[in-house]
Symmetry: D3
Subunit: 308 residues, 6 copies
C-alpha cells in the first residue's frame, strides 16, 4: 500500500540525516492516494509518517478524513515494515477540528422518521466517528503525535488517543465542543482525564473551552516535551520514533497493549493479563538477542529483530 | 426557594460590575433561611453562589450542615434558573472541618444494643454523611469551589467532590483524619487520588496529615488556579462561572455527567455511554444556535439558550 | 524474627538523634539472617528499616531476593511492633534491576515438553515474581521508599508498589524492559500509570527506556520529595516514617487499605467499602484518645495507641 | 406510621392462627392512609404486609403508586419493628402493569423546548420510576412476594426486585413492554436475566411478550414455589416470612445485603466485602444466643434477638 | 444484497402458509452468492433466514464460513427490511463444528519466526474467529437459532451467541474442544455459563465433552423449546420470528441491546444505561401507535411501524 | 507427598475394576499423615481422591481442617501426577459444617484491645477461612465433589467452590449460617448465586436455612447428577474423573481457568483473555495428537499426553 517513494529502501535512521529528513517530511506535496486528507511516507526504516494534509482548510476534519483514518491505521496494524508511527499535520496549524461545513448534514440534519429513528442514526454516526480515533489505540504500534499551532476540538480527541504527545512552543489546545452546544463524544471526555493528572484542569478545559498553551500543556502532563519550532519538533519526534523502532517489536507492541489494558482494569487484573501475555512472548528470540547485546555493551540499535 | 434579593432580575454578568458583585458576595449578612450554615445568592444571571457561613465557628461542619448541603444541592439540581454554582466560605478560613463538639454524639457515642448494632448505626451515619458531598457530583451543574485560608479534614472531602478548584495564595490544605484516629470516610480517600496526579503525594498527605500550601496545590493539580487574595479569587470564580453559564446548558451538564461517568468506567464503556447520551442531546437547538453564532463570529455569550 | 540489635528498646524517635540513626542505618554490615539480600533493623520505635543489601552486585535482584521479599513482608504484616516501613538500598545505587546472570535459567531456558508446557511454567514464574512486589501492597503498613543513584528495571516495579517515594538529587529512573526484549510484567505497566499523572510521559518512559532524573521525577509526581544527598534523604524518610508511626495504627493502616481499594474501584464502590470498613473501626479507642489530645492541643505523638 | 390495628401487640406467629391471619390479610378494606394504592398491616410480629390495593383498576400502577412505594419502603427500612416484608395484591389479579391512562402525560407528552430537553425530562422520569423498585433492593429486610392471577409489565419489574417469589397455580407472567413499543426500562431487562437461569427463555419472554404460566415459572426458577390458591399461598408466604422473622436480624439483613452485593461483583470482591462486613457483625450477641440455642437443641424461634 | 426470489414482496406471514414456507426454507438449492457456506432467504416479511449450507460436509465450519458470517451479519445489521433472523442448517445435522481439514494450516502450522511471533499470529487468528460469532451479538436484530441433529464444537460457540435457541427431539450438543486438546476459545467458555443456570452442568459438559440430548438441553435452559421434528421446529421458529417481526423494531432492538448490556454490567449500571437509552427511544411514534392499538384491543400485528 | 499405597502404579482406570476401586476408596482406614482430617489416595492413574475424614465428628470442620485444606490443594496444584480430583467424605454424612466446639475461641472470643482491634482480628480469621475453599478454585485441576447424607453450613461453601457436584438420593443441603446468627462469609453467598439459576431459590435457602433434598438439588442445577447410593455415586465420580483425566491436561486445566475467569468478567474481557491464553496453549503437541486420534477414530483415552 505504501507509495513507491516511501517504500524506497532507507538506511537506518541516523542523526546526520535528520534535518534533511525532517524537511522532506514537511515538504510533502499532497495527500497520498487513495487518501485525500492524509499523506503517508516512510522517513526512516520501520517508521511510518502520517501527515494530516488539508492545509488549505486548516486541516479541518471532513467526511473523508473520518473514514480514511480507519483505513490508514488498519493498514498500519498489519504492515510488518512499520514499527512506530509519527503523526503530524501540514500547514500552519495542527487542526481546526471538525469541518462543520462538510459534516453539517450528518449532525445537524440527521435522517429518520421519528425522534427515535433520528437518534438511532445519530448514534450510529457518533459510534463510527469514535472508531476514527479508537483505531489508533487498537493499532499495537506506538503513535507519537507532534502538534504545532492550534489543536482544536476533534484534534484533542485525536491526540489523546495517541501514545506520546509533543508540541511546539506556539501550540495551543482547546476542548471546543461546549462552544458548539454539545458534550464531546468521540473520546476527549473519556481519555483526557486518564491522560493528565489534574482533574480540576480537565474539568475547567472541558467546561469553559478556554485555550491551553504549550507551557501549561507541558506542566500538566498533556505533552511530554515542548520544542522551539516545528522543525525541531519533527526531528525530536523522529529521534524518539527511531528509539522505539530500534527496539524489539515484540517488547514494544506488547508494552503498548498492556499499558492500555492496565488503564481500564484493576492492578490485579492487569497483572494476571500480562502474565498470560508474557507466557508466550518471553519465548521470543528477541530477549536472547537483547540480553546478549546488553552483555556485550551494545545498543539495542545494533540488534536485528525479526518482523512482527 | 431563592431569597428575593437574589431573585432580582440581574443583567448578564459583565466585567465592569465584577468588583461590586464580589464585594456584595462577601458581605452577606448571614445564612439564608431555611439554612443555618449556608448563605445562598444569585450574583449574576444563571449563577448560584453557595457560601458556607458559620464564620464564628471557623465554618466547622456541624449536624445542620450535613443535611442542609443535601437539601441545598437537591434544590439547585432542579432549579432551571441555575446553570453553574460558585461555592466559597465566609470569614477567615474556608473550613476547620468537622465540628467535633457538635458531632461527638453520633461518632463517639453511637447507640446500639451490641457491637453489631452499634456498627450498623455507625454505617448509616457514615453513609448519610457521604451523601452530603456526593450530592455535589449528582448535581449536573458544574461547581466551582474557591478556597481561602485553611481547608481541613471534611473540607478536603467537600472540595474533591467539586468540579473546579481555585484558591488564594494563603490557602492551605490538610487531610486531617489520621490525626483523629480514623481513615477518612466521606470521600477524600476515594476522590483525591482521582483528582491529582501524584499517588506518592496523595499517600503522603493522607498518611502524615501534613499541610499542603497553595503553590504545591497548584503544581500538583489539586487547584487549577491560585489568586493573590480572596477578592481576586471571587472575581476569577465569577468570571469562570460566567463563561460556563453563557454556554449551552445541554452541552455543559452533559459534559459534567460524562466526565464523572468516564472516571468510573473503562474508555470503551465511556464511549458507549456518551454515544447513547448524545443520540438525543445532539438534537438540541443549541447546536444549531451555537454553530450559527460561531459562523457569524459571535461569542457563545450572544446566544440565548432555553432553560434546562 | 528481628535481630537482637534491632529489638533493643529504642526511645521514641527524636530529631536530635536523627543524624546518628541515619548513619547507623547506612552502616549496616550485611544482610540479616535468614536473608541474604535484605538487611532488617529497627532504627526507631515502630519503624522497620528494610535495606536491599547486595551492594557488590549493584543490588541486582537475584533468585534469593524474589523469595526473601515475600517472606520479609509477610513477617512485617503480622509484626505488631512495626507500624511503618522505610525501604532503601545499600551501596552506590538503589538497584540495577534483575540479575540476569542469576535468573537466566528461569527466563531464558524454561523447562517443558512443548511450547504450551514451557509457557505454563513461564507463567508460574512471572506470577510468583509479581508476588514479590504485590506483598508490599498487601502489607497494610505504609512503605516509604528512599531511592539514591540508579533505579532500573525491576527497581521501578518495586518502588511503584510502595506508598511514598523519595529520592536524592542524583537519582535516576529507567523502565528498562523494552531494552531486553520484553514488556515489563511484574508491575510497572500496571502501576506506573496510576502513580504519575502524565500518560504521555509514562508511555515515553516505557517505550523508549530513556532515563528520567530527579527533577522530572519530582515534577511528574513519581517522587514527592527530592533531597540533596542520601544522608538527608534517610533523615527525611525517618522523620516522615516517624510522623506515620506516631499516629493511630487503626487510622494509618485503614487509610492505606482504602486508598488501594479506591484505586481499583469506582468512587461509589469505594465509598460503600469505606463505610463498611469504618462501621467497626470508628469504635476504636484511638478516636477518643486522639480527639481528647486534639482538644488539649497535644500532638498525636503524645498519645499511646494500642498495638494492632 | 403503622395504623393502630396493625400495631396491636401480636403474639408470635403460630400455625394455628394462620388461616385466620391470612383471611384477615385478604379482607383489608382499603389503602392505609397516607397511601392511596397500598394497604399496610402487621399480620404477625416483625412481619409487615404490603398489599397493592387498587383492585377496581386491576392494580394498575398509577402516578400515586410510583411515589408511594418509595415512601413505604423507606419507612420499612428504618422501622425497627419490621424484619421481613410480605408483598401481595388485592383483587382478582396481581397487577395489569402501568396505568397508561394515568401516566400518559409523563410518557407520551413529555415537556421540553426541544428534543434534548424533552429527552432530559424523560430521563428524569424513567430514573425516578426505577427508584420505585430499587427501594425494595435497598431495603435490607427480605421481601417475599406472592403473585396470583396476572402479573404484567411493571409487575415483572416489581417482582424481580423482590427477594423470594411465590405464586398460585393460576398465575401468569408477561414482559409486556415490547407490545407498547418500548424496551423495558425500570428493571426487568436488568434483573430478570440474573433471576432465572435460562437466557434463551429470558430473551424469548422479553422479545415476544408471550405469557408464561405458573409451571414454567417454577421450572425456570422465576418462582420458588407454586400454591394451589391464594389462601394457601398467603399462608405459605406468612410461614416463610415467619421463618425469616424468627432469625437474627443481623444475620438476615446482612445476608440480603451481601447477596445483592455479590450479584454485581466478582467472587473475589464479594469475599473481600463480606469479610469487612462481618468483622463487626460477628461480634453480635445474636451469634452467642444462636449457638447456645443450637447446643440446647432449641429452635431459633426460641431466641429473642434485639431489634436492629 | 438479497437474491431476487427472497426480495419478492411477501405478504405478512400467516399460519396457513406456514408449512409451505417451511418446506420452501428447507429445500433451498444451495448457498446464496456471494456466499459459499450460507444460504439467505426471506421467508416472510421482515424475517431473514440464514441457513448454514454445506450439507455434504456436515456443515463443518471451513475458512470461508468464518469470514462469510461476518459479512452476512454486517449486511443484516444495516438492512432496514430485516427485523429478525432465523438461523438453521441444511442437511442431516446442524454442524459437526470446525472443519479440521480446511483449518489445519491456520491452527496446526501457524507461521512466525519464533514462538512469540507464532503466538502473535495465533492470537490474531483466534481473535478474528471470535468475531465470527460476536457479530451475532453486535447485530441488534434478534436471532432465533433452530438446531436439529448434532451441534458440536464450534456449533456451541455459534448458538450461545444467538438470542433464542430451539431444537428438535433428536438434537444433541457437545462441547468438543477438550477432545482435540484445547480450551474452547471462540465463545463457549465465556457465554455458556451465562446462558444456562447450572454451573455444575456447564463444567461437566466443558470438561468431559459428553453429549447432552434435547431433554436435558430443555430442562437446563439451553433451549427454550423442543420440537418433534425439523419441520415443526422451522414452523415454530418462523412463528416466533413472526411474533418478533410484528412488534416495534425500536422496542425489539432496544430490548436486545439492553439485555446484552445488562449481562456484562451491574444492575445499577444497566439501569443507568437503559434510562439514557430510552430518553430518546421513548419518543418514537411506535409507542403512541402501540398504545392506541392496545386500547383498541388490536394486536401489534395490526400496526405498521416505520423501518429502523 | 503421596502415601506409598496410592503411589503404586495403577493401570488405566477400567470399568471392570470400578466396584473394587470404589470399595477401596470407601474403606480407607483414616487420615493420611500429615493430615488429621483428610485422607488422600490415588484410586486410578492421574486421579487424586481427597476424603474428608472425621466421621466420628460427622466430618465437622475443625481448626486443623481449615489449614489442611490449603496445604492439600497447594500440593495437588503442583503435583504433575494429578490431573483431576474427586472429593468425598467418610462416614454417614458429608459434613455437619463448622465444628463450633473447636472453633468457638476464634469466633466467639476474638482477641483485641478494643472493638477495632477485635474486628481487625476477626477479619484476618474470616479471610484465612475463605482461603480454605478458594484454593479449590485456584487449583487448575477440576474437582468433582460427591455428596452423601447431610451437607450443612460450611459444606455448602466447600461444594460451591468445586467444579462438578454429584450427590446421592439421600443427600440434603442446608445453608445454615442464619441459624447461628451470621451472614455466611466463606463463599456461599458469593458463589451459590453463580452456581444455580434461580435467584428466588438461592435467597430462600440463605434466608430461611431450610433443607433442600436431592431432587430439588438436581432440578435447580446445584448438582448435575443424582445416584441411588454412595457406592454408585463413587463409581460415577470415578468414571467422570477418568473421562477428564484421559484428556489433554493443557485443554482441561485451561478450560477450568477460563471458565472461572469468565464468571467474574464481561464476555468481551473473557474473549480477550482466552485469546491471549491460547496464543501459546494452542501450540501444544496435545492438539496434534488429539486431532490425529480423532481422525483415526480413536478415543482420547488412547493418547498419551505429557505431564503438565
Amino acid at each position: 500500500m505504501w507509495p513507491s517513494f516511501a517504500r524506497s529502501a532507507l538506511r537506518k535512521y541516523t542523526g546526520l540525516a535528520s534535518q534533511t529528513l525532517v524537511r522532506a517530511m514537511s515538504s510533502s506535496s499532497g495527500p497520498t492516494s487513495p487518501y485525500t486528507t492524509l499523506s503517508i511516507s516512510r522517513p526512516a526504516e520501520a517508521i511510518t509518517h502520517v501527515e494530516l494534509h488539508r492545509p488549505e482548510k486548516r486541516n479541518a476534519m471532513n467526511k473523508a478524513f473520518w473514514s480514511e483514518m480507519v483505513h490508514c491505521f488498519n493498514e498500519i496494524t498489519v504492515d510488518p515494515e512499520c514499527r512506530v508511527v509519527v503523526f503530524s499535520a501540514a500547514g500552519k496549524i495542527f487542526t481546526a477540528g471538525i469541518d462543520l461545513m462538510d459534516m453539517a448534514g450528518d449532525i445537524l440534519q440527521p435522517e429518520g422518521d421519528d425522534t427515535a429513528r433520528i437518534s438511532w442514526n445519530l448514534r450510529k454516526t457518533v459510534t463510527s466517528y469514535q472508531e476514527t480515533f479508537s483505531v489508533i489505540e487498537k493499532c499495537p504500534k506506538p503513535v507519537v503525535v507532534a502538534v504545532h499551532g492550534a489543536c482544536v476540538g476533534g484534534g484533542i480527541d485525536l491526540i489523546t488517543a495517541c501514545d506520546i504527545r509533543l508540541c511546539t512552543q506556539d501550540a495551543w489546545f482547546q476542548v471546543k465542543e461546549v462552544d458548539i452546544g454539545l458534550a464531546a463524544d468521540v473520546g476527549t471526555l473519556q481519555r483526557l482525564p486518564k491522560v493528565i493528572g489534574s482533574r480540576s484542569l480537565v474539568n475547567e478545559l472541558a467546561l469553559t473551552a478556554r485555550k491551553m498553551y504549550a507551557d501549561e500543556a507541558k506542566s500538566s502532563g498533556l505533552v511530554s516535551r515542548v520544542f522551539a519550532n516545528k522543525e525541531d519538533m519533527m526531528a525530536g519526534a523522529l529521534e524518539m520514533a527511531g528509539e522505539i523502532a530500534d527496539r524489539s517489536p515484540v517488547a514494544v507492541q506488547g508494552t503498548k497493549i498492556n499499558l492500555i489494558y492496565a488503564r481500564d482494569h484493576s492492578v490485579a487484573d492487569g497483572l494476571n493479563y500480562v502474565a498470560t501475555w508474557n507466557m508466550s512472548m518471553l519465548q521470543t528470540q528477541d530477549v536472547m538477542k537483547s540480553v546478549q547485546a546488553a552483555m556485550e555493551k551494545k545498543s539495542p540499535k545494533a540488534v536485528t529483530f525479526s518482523k512482527l
